[in-house]
């Protein structure tokens, strides 16, 4: 029973990780920018939802929409105000990465000044926080919702990138930026689109995590680490691989708690990355 419970906990954590990975993945594969500040977009969405709902007493649904919009705007503003000018002056990918790192530090500490270092939990109705037993496994309705949202968005993202014109444009930019431009797609627009979608996914995972477990100043950097590991393990540009890797990380961490003290949780994700670097550097599912 404990085994099944740990698997269930792993899938719940993995649902958030999968969304994190998908968000970072779409940005990284489309723009090849190592977007460290993604971690700050994540925390910003969580903290803003808390600010709107708890401090300003705005209804939960409205707070969620507002904080998601803010996350999308922040992501697109970073692309437009920071990365785009850098690309314009011919900065190397390392220089953009370091700039993103600086931006992450700037935003993260700004949030620490605004919201202090205490963990914040977004309050939700008691009825969906109450545990229910599914054949002996305890989960809350909230956690079932999180799982459903994660699988749903994974499906939507697959359909979007495979079937729609805009989604195909993102994949085109992934494989050949110059060719994309030649067939009349403006890479600048597609990059904005990728930042918008990726930041929305970061925002959704942040809000779900803030409801379920809460957010603190360290959450952003840990979310980023998980997101990057999911992308590298799943394979860059391979969205199903990334989502599966997210679930794999969640399950591995929770199975790990069975035998290893929980303080070492964050080391488990890194261990998985090292195993993949050693034995399967192209990722979980080979890109077709």
């Amino acid at each position: 029973m404990l085994f099944l419970q740990l698997i269930a906990n792993g899938i719940i954590a993995g649902s958030v990780y999968a969304l994190l990975g998908l968000g970072f993945g779409i940005i990284y594969s489309a723009t090849r920018t190592f977007h460290f500040a993604h971690g700050a977009v994540y925390s910003m969405a969580g903290y803003l939802a808390f600010q709107f709902h708890v401090f300003w007493q705005i209804p939960l649904a409205v707070s969620i929409v507002l904080s998601l919009l803010a996350a999308i705007l922040l992501g697109m503003a970073i692309e437009g105000l920071i990365y785009r000018p850098l690309r314009g002056v011919g900065a190397s990918s390392m220089e953009i990465l370091l700039s993103s790192l600086g931006l992450f530090i700037l935003l993260q500490n700004f949030m620490i000044i605004l919201w202090r270092s205490d963990p914040r939990v977004l309050p939700v109705a008691e009825t969906i926080r109450k545990g229910i037993s599914l054949g002996g496994i305890w989960v809350t309705s909230l956690q079932l919702i999180i799982i459903a949202i994660s699988f749903g968005l994974w499906g939507v993202l697959l359909i979007f990138t495979q079937r729609t014109k805009m989604g195909k444009a993102i994949r085109a930019l992934e494989s050949d930026p110059e060719m994309t431009e030649m067939v009349g797609i403006d890479p600048a627009h597609i990059r904005f689109l990728a930042y918008g979608i990726g930041s929305a996914l970061a925002g959704i995972s942040a809000i779900l995590a803030t409801m379920d477990m809460g957010i603190d100043p360290n959450s952003g950097i840990m979310a980023l680490l998980i997101a990057v590991i999911a992308v590298l393990v799943g394979g860059i540009g391979n969205y199903s691989g990334t989502a599966l890797a997210g679930f794999l990380l969640g399950i591995a961490e929770n199975m790990g708690i069975w035998k290893i003290p929980s303080e070492w949780k964050s080391s488990i994700a890194f261990g998985i990355l090292v195993i993949f670097i050693l034995f399967r550097p192209t990722g979980l599912l080979k890109k077709t």
Binding site: V89, L101, G102, Q108, F110, L225, F270, V274, I277
Partner: protein, 291 residues
Amino acid sequence: MDYIFYILILVEIYVIVAVSLNLLMGFTGLISMAHAGFMAIGAYTTTLLITSLGMNFLLTIPLGVAIAGMVSALLALPSLRVKGEHYIIASFGLQIILYNILLNWVSLTNGPYGFSGIPRPQIFGYKFATYRSYLILASLVTCVCVFLIWRITRSRFGLILKGIREDEVAASSLGKNVNRFKVVAFVVGSSIAAVAGSLYATAISFIDPFCFTIHDSIFMLAIVIIGGTGNIFGSALGALLLISLPELLKFFQVAETVAAPLRQMIYGALLVIFMRFRPQGLLPEYRARRG
């Protein structure tokens, strides 16, 4: 006066940190996010050997360097083999793990409490008890480290590293084992950070895991960038500026809960600004990097 000596000692420690990181970033084109972790290895090795075995300070330095070297080789050997940015995330992960070890392996590291009252080094019966005398010791160690790295960058080995940074394919077509050079550079640069850690522990007399977080690693990257990648004197200047200027904040009445994040905000902003407007840093390498 002691306060000024204290700041100068800190500056020298960060000169070692920045110059060794510059060997990776500026001369080889590798970014490491685990530099604070390697510094921690030196700091904890020295502290444990001095306090539990009463070992001589100077003997603890090479041991810290050796351990940091082994750990960095464990990181670099697999992750530098893979093309792309995997190794950056690997170093990021290593930094998190090292921090976890410091925090959670309580029987060895004393966990979140760290160690206080670390004794000042004693060499040939002379105890470097005052800040003034310690400054002399720190200066000597710093000079040795900087000279060593300066020699490396001027050697054939250093030239090959620069060649790899500029064009990996060309370097390997000239018969250079690119990966081996990168690994060696990574190990040398990382292990010298341990020397800075050994100095830090005995200078401040207090260490805990919170001295060596991922944020400190990023701070070190900022020093190198702002000083100028590929220029050793730039790193020294960067360390001087970024260590001493924030001390000025103390003269304004800012609460510590705000001052610490404010300091970090400033160097985060500096990273962004420098990358945009002066990517070569304050003291550039001897030629322009962008056409």
